[in-house]
Symmetry: C2
Subunit: 198 residues, 2 copies
Amino acid sequence: MKEKIEFWFDFGSTYSYPAVMRIPMLARRHEIEFVYKPFLLGSIFKKQGWNTSPFLLNLSKGKYMWRDLERICAEEEISFNKPSAFPRNGLLASRIVCSFENENWIDPFIRSVFRENFANDQDISSSLVIAQILRELNLQPDEIFLKAELLETKEKLKLQTERAFDCGIFGAPTFRIGNELFWGNDRLESAIKWSNKV
Amino acid sequence: MKEKIEFWFDFGSTYSYPAVMRIPMLARRHEIEFVYKPFLLGSIFKKQGWNTSPFLLNLSKGKYMWRDLERICAEEEISFNKPSAFPRNGLLASRIVCSFENENWIDPFIRSVFRENFANDQDISSSLVIAQILRELNLQPDEIFLKAELLETKEKLKLQTERAFDCGIFGAPTFRIGNELFWGNDRLESAIKWSNKV
């Protein structure tokens, strides 16, 4: 029995986008289960003394990242358009995942949110955009928002972010198998290989 | 005719190690020429406001990097032992490469310096260690040191570092083909693929 791979991500994280889009095909091909673990990357950056994304703090690195992401998405045939705002706040979407993680619509919901941000340039921090995504999945946004905004949901996401930090996670996406970490979309295949070994 | 790949590196850079060890085999297999471009990564970090390696500034990132490097070297069957000091100063070795870049012993010299640092835990900032490497290549260290310490060599390395920065290079290793950059050991194959396209 293969070990599950935890997929730690932030909805605003650029390299989480190709990773999340590649997961379904790779999960099927390798018969591996992925467990989605949203966390607040901004909180972890703050602990590192950064008040925003390193891609904004370092202009060369930011410029490189967008070009690299464009190349990766072209190579993987993933639709991509550079968002007009970066990083976008995935707080509401992350709370929804924390609150409904066992629902079968969570996987398509996650992918829709990423697609709206990185392919359709929609502001995923807006509840209107998230409501539209939920309606397209035949869900009632109002009920979902109510549960997502409960104190216990907010606490759950905070604790999950603390846990990410305690596990040594410093960026997104990070794949975790036992105590082994693999950071970056480019380590997805290494993580799968590792989960086959353990 | 395939375009040459510039390989921008710093002798203290951890991920430059597996990259430099993998280059000869890949260069032969794909019939691609690599041009070695040492530069001073520390100077570029300073422009970013960092006084040392990001792997020391961010403990989680540092811890991850050593584990990741260990896994990569094991996978690629590259001898690796975590150096007892990091980052080691590659100034003298970089000046030697700048000064003698067209000599046929430069390729094995570069690989020996990396091996001493990352496999044999030798202090490559020491002229004694570099002298020993040169002697093993049947060279006279004294003559080489003289030329490496000339003002024009020092200037050449400084200019090369400025050029790295101007090209948008922010880390090592970076592969460059025309204006296209590929950052990281894990992008070596992408760089080769790109050089086949252009």
